[in-house]
């Protein structure tokens, strides 16, 4: 056998060196024509100029260690201010020597969020993760949690009732009886508790000293308001969206009215209502925690927006899905939870995460009702006359922290979009 090439074939040559490597890439992408070449050079010069000025200010002439703002004056960035104030900016007025508590609460919440972003956890494990994570978070923040017997009975009633509705007629009778028993114990217990047969017993877990919500501040407040605001707003929004598509005129009217009312006013006015108007309507001496009021306002507001997004998802489903579920004999709740919602939610995940990112930043509006979220503690750091006059540094720092949170959410949204649409992609 000789090494003869078949007729009609050519030896493959390497591309010319000017077309490969760094130079080739640059030639092709940056300097393909005179116009592009000039644009490239101008942009490089502009970026370099901005960057060098920024670095000059932020790094080369910056002060990293100073006793007071006066030592910073006349130099570049005053990072010593952040160094002095970072604990206040992150944790607010939480007792100084106990700052490890909000630190670990934030870590617990982050762990909870990261774990639940993994699709393999999207089952019963999710409930365990959120139950344990929330318990740890609030135990660390409050220092003590008292679980009253009413709460336990109410939970039993709620879980039992939910089980009865969700699993009705498709679960074996033994399981159904279990749910019925749970709901029954809850209901009877609550009635007994109300007429005074059961004592006001409570399970108090108090490993640390109590810290009230008024002292909370900084990043834990922002995270709690956003996370739990959206956690509760999500099911609330689903109910509103379903209600808006309901055939019952009263329910439909209520849901439409609520959604339009909330969407028609700014979040600030809702917060002011919750903090200024509400106390005037309550009997004197009765106070609902300010933090709770803000949290409820956030939930109501986010719920209305989420409802509209989910309604979009519901409308995108073909009618056949509803009819098929009816034909199989599922009741309304089963049809919705097993057939409709899983499909509808998959469609709306990108806009939902967009809303989440928006609300994470919107929580900073609570500053107008005197709650010290992350942005507000950063603002406070500027008030100190010893360190005043460096707003740029503080806001840059706050922006950086917000960016870290929002950018990771946005990347996650992108990943989910690809992951969840694998089935529909060719």
């Amino acid at each position: 056998m000789t090494d003869v090439m078949p007729a009609g074939e050519r030896r493959q040559l390497a591309p010319p060196t000017v077309e490969t490597g760094v130079f080739g890439w640059m030639r092709k992408n940056l300097f393909s024509s005179w116009g592009n070449g000039i644009t490239t050079i101008v942009l490089i010069v502009v970026v370099a100029w901005i960057l060098s000025n920024f670095l000059h200010w932020a790094l080369f002439t910056a002060t990293f260690d100073a006793k007071s703002g006066a030592e910073c004056r006349g130099h570049g960035a005053c990072w010593a201010l952040i160094r002095e104030k970072y604990r206040y900016i992150f944790f607010g007025s939480f007792p100084y020597e106990q700052h490890w508590r909000p630190l670990f609460a934030v870590i617990a919440m982050l762990a909870m969020l990261i774990l639940s972003s993994d699709r393999r956890m999207w089952n019963k494990r999710l409930i365990a993760i959120w139950g344990i994570g929330s318990f740890i978070t609030f135990l660390l923040m409050f220092g003590e949690i008292s679980i009253s017997i009413s709460l336990i009975l109410f939970m039993a009633l709620a879980v039992g009732g939910l089980g009865m509705i969700l699993r009705g007629s498709i679960a074996p009778p033994a399981e159904l009886n279990g749910w019925r028993a749970l709901a029954g114990i809850g209901a009877v217990g609550l009635v007994l508790r109300m007429v005074g047969v059961l004592p006001a017993w409570g399970l108090a877990i108090a490993p640390f000293s109590y810290v009230e919500t008024g002292l909370w501040g900084g990043i834990p407040v922002t995270m709690i308001l956003a996370t739990y605001g959206l956690l509760f707003a999500f099911p609330f929004g689903i109910l509103l969206a379903l209600g808006r598509r309901s055939n019952l005129p009263l329910i439909k009217g209520l849901c439409v009215g609520f959604i339009e009312l909330i969407r028609g006013v700014p979040l600030i006015s809702l917060l002011i209502m919750a903090s200024v108007m509400l106390p005037l309507f309550l009997p004197s001496g009765m106070n609902i925690d300010k933090f709770l009021r803000a949290q409820v306002a956030v939930i109501l507001f986010a719920g209305a927006y989420i409802a509209e997004i989910i309604r979009g998802g519901l409308q995108s489903l073909p009618k056949g899905q509803f009819e098929a579920a009816d034909a199989v004999g599922l009741n309304y709740v089963q049809k919705t939870t097993l057939i409709i919602l899983p499909q509808a939610l998959r469609v709306v995940i990108p806009p939902l995460i967009n809303t989440f990112i928006g609300f994470f930043k919107d929580t900073s509006l609570v500053l107008i009702i005197g709650i010290f979220d992350f942005l507000n503690t950063a603002n406070q750091a500027l008030v100190d006359p010893n360190w005043a006059g460096f707003p740029g540094e503080v806001y840059l720092f706050a922006a950086f922290v917000y960016f870290c949170f929002c950018y990771s959410m946005s990347r996650y949204s992108k990943y989910l979009e690809i992951e969840l649409n694998k089935g529909t992609r060719r």
Binding site: Y88, S93, L190, M277, L282, I288
Partner: protein, 343 residues
Amino acid sequence: MRKTTLAAAAGLTAILFSGTAMAGKDLDTIKARGNLICGVGQGTAGFMMADSQGKWVGLDVDVCRAVSAALFGDSEKVKYVPLSSQQRFTALQSGEVDMLSNNTTQTLTRDTALGLDFTAITYYDGQGFLVPKKLNVKSAKELNGATVCVAPGTTTELNLADYFRANKMTFKPVVIEKVDEVRAAFFSGRCDVYTNDSSSLYATRAANPPPPLKPEDFIVLPEIISKEPLAPAVRHGDNQFADIVRWSQYAMLEAEEYGITSKNVDEMLKSENPTIKRILGVTPGMGKALGVDEKWVYNIVKQVGNYGESFDRNVGSGSVLKIDRGLNKLWTKGGLQYAPPIR
């Protein structure tokens, strides 16, 4: 089904409203609770702000601490509730806070229609003028024809116009909405004068001149053209509590007048002066009359200091703000701070 719904509603209500209690008389409530809830502002340099460790400090905060020291013998039994200017009065009316100490100007309508009771005046503020030293102006009367930086829509702007008209002078207003921008305009030389409440002018001077300018390159002119008496407030209905707040403030003034400071208060206990003996509770009677411990003034002065000490530490010579005592000097030194006698 109805029973289930009812029970569920009851359970929810029980959860939501647990931990709330009905209030009786304010003072009884405060004593039973064991701490004082003090409404402060959201941060004004020198008057109320959270320091690097999250502790509230300032001239207004010291009033809360003094009241707490008088009531409980401990100046730290205060819970601070930061309030925005929109919420502050509602918070006091609805009982969310026991008292306000947040740079509120005492006026007739607030004292009456809003149902507040102002106690003693903590700080006599008023609108003033900040000018660069190089203008060589010694008095506001020399400001004829000046460009003046001012925030719009406030009484500040009206007072300014009134003052110049009354003195037959003209001025060119530079009206800018945001405080930061007004300051920037002033320091960049767009206007000769910046007018605002004088406490705010001092804060501006202390922190904002861009290098190479220094705070010393600017002066606040001696003329004050409006009255802004800042006083703590309580709500109508509990006169005894109002008395305690008012006399806690007077006690700090009396202590300064008689030279009692946080450093020498223990030696002062041995003083032979009958007035000092009465003030410090060596001769009993004053505490009982007010309904607090006989050592109330001792506790206030020991833990918080007298008015002069508090002023110097927070806004005066001991702070960065370096506010001149001015109208806030004691009456014996030509100022307005005058406390009725403790007897």
